[in-house]
């Protein structure tokens, strides 16, 4: 029995999403409450950032003599631009002082170095999804259950966003081009086959879109994503990779609906896949049934993760008992998969992802 990695592309399901505080705090909602994406469900205080300030360097004085210039003590509250150290004596007006870069508290003074912890900030955790609070973890967060369409992607970055879904191409093979993004995309999450070039980001920033969903993107563009004010999700991988047909069809059929995009991705430990969730109030609920560990069986819908079939979706029609020789010359356990176009191909089990 082989247990492949699995991915969800579901037209109607119920998902439970944990919303957790980064530090212990206060949960503001109770079980059974209905919440919307922007609702604050929990709140906590985050310690401020620590800033280090080298008085000796700033004032050009030796470390051995610095003590007499420092005018603050550990525990003192300071405000940005407050004088922390200053020269004394007859030449004092010719030498500059040393001022605090932030509001905060002096937490350490040692060897001419002053550490200031900026004021704590309040972190507000939003529900991000529209649904029902089904579990409350005191001081930590909540679980929100929501019914709707779910598409898990391969990679993404840029955090979370909500917006109306807008498909800008009519085929999963067609690239998303910068010129397709205009003012009508303001406040929407736009989708296309794959990202043609960097102009897509420039136009998307200008049009103030809330997010981008595509099949693929050149890996070279990864650094550009860091400065974007919205998340980007790839459903199928890096390169000029078209969006998998089931994902495209599902997005297309939900155009105009509110979509919730969570793009951050982590591989390995604490793994987390990017996903887009489209809340739907009506329709048959197939239920997610937990993360589940499913075996690969004949009849299963799968997606290929490597060339020459990267991104292709099909159905397993045979699981040969013996390994088979593949194009590379290696003998590997394979599945025979019937692709959307009816062609049957052998794909190594390791290169398949179960779609359910």
């Amino acid at each position: 029995m082989y247990y492949p990695v699995a991915s969800r592309i579901a037209a109607q399901t119920t998902v439970r999403r944990e919303r957790l505080l980064p530090a212990p705090g206060q949960v503001l909602v109770g079980p059974g409450e209905m919440v919307g994406p922007a609702d604050v469900v929990a709140r906590c205080q985050l310690p401020g950032e620590v800033k280090a300030l080298d008085v000796c360097r700033a004032m050009g004085i030796p470390r051995s003599r610095v003590a007499k210039y420092v005018r603050r003590s550990v525990g003192d509250a300071v405000q940005a631009n407050d004088l922390l150290a200053s020269p004394r004596g007859m030449f004092s007006r010719f030498r500059k002082g040393c001022r605090s870069p932030v509001d905060g508290e002096v937490i350490e003074i040692r060897d001419g170095l002053i550490l200031i912890e900026s004021a704590a900030t309040t972190f507000e955790l939003r529900a991000h999804v529209r649904g029902e609070v089904t579990n409350v973890m005191p001081n930590r967060g909540v679980v929100v259950s929501v019914s709707g369409a779910l598409i898990q992607g391969m990679w993404g970055s840029g955090g979370e966003a909500e917006g109306v879904l807008k498909m800008l191409v009519d085929s999963p093979q067609k690239p998303l081009r910068g010129r397709a993004i205009d003012v009508s995309c303001h406040g929407t999450i736009v989708a296309g086959g794959w990202i043609f070039d960097e102009s897509v980001f420039e136009q998307a920033v200008e049009a103030r879109v809330r997010g981008i969903i595509v099949g693929g993107m050149d890996a070279e563009l990864r650094p550009s994503l860091q400065s974007l004010p919205f998340p980007v999700m790839l459903t199928d991988g890096f390169g000029a990779t078209a969006m998998a047909q089931p994902a495209f069809a599902l997005l297309q059929s939900n155009m105009g609906r509110e979509a919730l995009l969570s793009a951050d991705t982590r591989t390995r430990r604490d793994a987390r896949r990017p996903e887009v969730l489209i809340p739907l109030r009506n329709g048959h609920d197939a239920s997610e049934g937990g993360p589940g560990i499913l075996a690969l069986e004949v009849g299963a819908q799968v997606r290929a993760l490597r060339a020459p079939y990267l991104g292709n979706v099909g159905t397993v029609v045979d699981l040969p008992a013996q390994p088979r020789r593949i194009e590379s010359g290696a003998r590997l356990p394979v599945a025979v998969v019937e692709l959307y176009d009816g062609k049957q191909v052998s794909i190594p089990l390791a290169n398949l992802e179960l779609i359910h």
Binding site: L113, G239, R269, G329
Partner: protein, 589 residues
């Protein structure tokens, strides 16, 4: 638990990697210990399983299916010792599934102790994430110059697993070392008590008490012997031991399921790279030969050498064929990878394939192009390991040429990309291209990935480990003869004569630039007479000097690699692609 090794008949060895978990059953067959069964299953240390034990149990159950011997009881616990109804006498474990220790290294500018520390660290599962070097700017690695404020901020930003402070020979420099300690102490004080990393002090021994005073109660201080006690003495051992201990406690020990696994093991769980090094050391000591072991793993790659009875180990936790695949691009340009390919490929395509591999790191190349690309990546990983190792090999009887590999009698290749290469010729060519051995060298493949687990077996039953190493562990590829020298392409580099055991003989002239394979089956030996022309050395240290040697056969036979050392690469990419294709053909691929 103490076991008398003679009472241990059956041993289950587990190798828990980040991508695959292997189980190997060793038992007595007739009068000898042999590998009875081996299974492999994808590791389950990550979600949705989050438990190392799921893949361990699956691999063990597969062993039971093969042998018909139940090894787990109904509760899923290992049955030990072996009984009539099943079980094994003992179980041993090695692992490489943990992420490396993330270190901040603090030292004194232009001080050789920094180099000593780096060498010591490259021997452990650790990556230097930041470098505080007082007094000068060191490019890269988030280094800072003589900037107290910068040092503290770097520390707070990196949040390392541990801090290593080195600097000064014993009785030497003090001020910069104490300043580094001050910076670390101040930064520690700004972190929550539970988040403060331990500080390992391996600098000027005379300053230990002052450093302890500076650090005070701010953090846990581990003061050990100076990594560089004098200008002419390097002492990496204590630092390596300390970091290994930290790795065991803070990384290995925190693997989900590790507690159960460790409780099953009859001996302490070994980090895989260390285990691999122990076996290479054993192979070297067994025949008194120089041995080089390489392992290109999923997340970590290692190189172990035993040269003139001196052990060196280089671990690169940032280089591997799975989730680290794309990180190679930060260290070598894509043209360094494409130069090993017989077809044209755009840098963007290499980048996309490697980034996809990093996301789907368990996938395998299906097309020949992607297979050769992964093999090209393996060559570059080996080249980087070699670059780390080169300065450590000192001049001596075995170091014939300063820019080339020392003379190794045996090279053992391991890791998935080598062990699972579709043809032995591809595996051999990866080793030859990347390592470029000189003279006469045996090539073996750790095809079943047994070398590292056998070190753990040896802790329990050395006889079993020795017998399995000899009988089952290594796939003999053959013997390579690589003359050193240059000539015009096609000119004769050497003449060799093979006298086979059955009385046949063969004499061949080898032109410079060629790569030839002469069949000599596994188990057969032959006498080889090598007569290089005056511009070539066949590993005797003198050009033109003839010699004879007895060689063993293998699945490939005798490989005459007269392509030159260092391996010449064509400037014209099209010509280089043609060469690569020719070499692949020459090796039967």
């Amino acid at each position: 638990m103490t076991l008398d090794y003679l009472s241990v008949q059956s041993i289950l060895a587990l190798d828990c990697g980040s991508t695959a978990t292997q189980a190997m059953l060793i038992d007595r067959v007739d009068a000898e210990y042999r590998l009875v069964a081996r299974t492999e299953t994808p590791s389950t240390v990550e979600p949705p399983w989050n438990d190392l034990m799921a893949s361990v149990r699956q691999a063990i159950m597969q062993i039971s299916e093969i042998t018909g011997l139940p090894l787990l009881n109904r509760q899923g616990q290992i049955i030990t010792p072996q009984q009539q109804s099943g079980g094994v006498d003992a179980l041993v474990v090695i692992t490489s599934a943990s992420p490396p220790l993330r270190l901040l290294l603090a030292g004194v500018m232009r001080d050789i102790s920094l180099d000593s520390a780096r060498r010591a660290l490259s021997n452990t599962y650790a990556t230097v994430e930041g470098l505080v070097s007082l007094g000068r700017r060191v490019e890269g690695e988030g280094s800072t110059n003589d900037d107290f404020q910068g040092q503290v901020e770097l520390f707070l930003e990196l949040k390392p697993d541990a801090v290593v402070i080195v600097g000064g020979i014993d009785g030497g420099a003090s001020r910069p070392v104490l300043q580094a300690a001050e910076a670390v102490a101040i930064a520690s004080s700004a972190m929550a008590q539970a988040d403060r990393p331990p500080i390992v002090y391996a600098g000027n021994a005379d300053l230990r008490s002052e450093v302890a005073e500076i650090i005070g109660a701010e953090a846990e201080l581990r003061a050990i012997d100076n990594v560089r006690p004098s200008l002419d003495l390097e002492n990496p051992g204590p630092l390596q031991i300390e970091l290994e201990e930290l790795y065991r406690q803070r990384k290995m020990g925190r693997l989900p399921g590790f507690g159960t696994l460790a409780s099953w093991s009859s001996v302490p769980v070994l980090p895989a790279a260390k285990a691999h090094a122990y076996t290479i050391q054993y192979l070297s000591n067994l025949d008194g030969i120089n041995v080089l072991g390489v392992d290109v793993g999923g997340g970590t790659s290692t190189m172990t050498s035993m040269v003139d009875n001196h052990l060196e180990l280089a671990i690169r936790s940032d280089l591997g064929m799975s989730y680290n695949a794309a990180r190679l691009l930060a260290q070598v340009p894509s043209k360094s990878i494409s130069r090993w390919l017989p077809f044209e490929i755009e840098p963007a395509e290499i980048r996309n394939i490697l980034h996809n591999k990093a996301v789907h790191y368990r996938t395998l190349p299906q097309t020949r192009e992607e297979l050769l690309l992964e093999q090209a990546v393996a060559r570059e990983i080996l080249r980087l390991l070699l670059r780390d190792m080169m300065p450590r090999w000192t001049d001596g009887a075995s170091r014939l040429y300063p820019d080339l590999l020392p003379k190794f009698h045996l090279i053992a290749g391991g890791g998935g990309v080598l062990a699972n290469a579709p043809t032995y010729g591809q595996a051999a060519l990866m080793l030859l291209d990347a390592l470029q051995p000189v003279g006469v060298t045996g090539l073996v493949l750790d095809k079943l990935r047994l070398l590292a687990p056998l070190a753990a077996v040896a802790m329990l039953n050395p006889l079993a480990a020795a017998q399995v190493t000899e009988q089952d562990a290594l796939q003999n590829l053959g013997t390579v003869v690589a003359p050193v020298g240059t000539a015009r392409e096609g000119e004769v580099a050497l003449t060799f004569k093979i006298d086979y055991d059955d009385g046949r003989s063969l004499e061949v002239e080898v032109p410079y630039g060629s790569l030839e394979v002469i069949p000599l089956a596994t188990g057969q030996t032959a006498d080889l007479e090598l007569r290089p022309t005056r511009r070539f050395d066949v590993g005797l240290g003198v050009r033109g000097q003839a010699g004879t040697t007895k060689v063993e056969g293998g699945v490939l036979g005798i490989i005459i690699d007269a392509r030159g050392r260092p391996l010449p690469m064509a400037q014209d990419p099209a010509e280089q692609r043609e060469r690569i294709q020719r070499w692949l053909w020459d090796m039967g691929s």
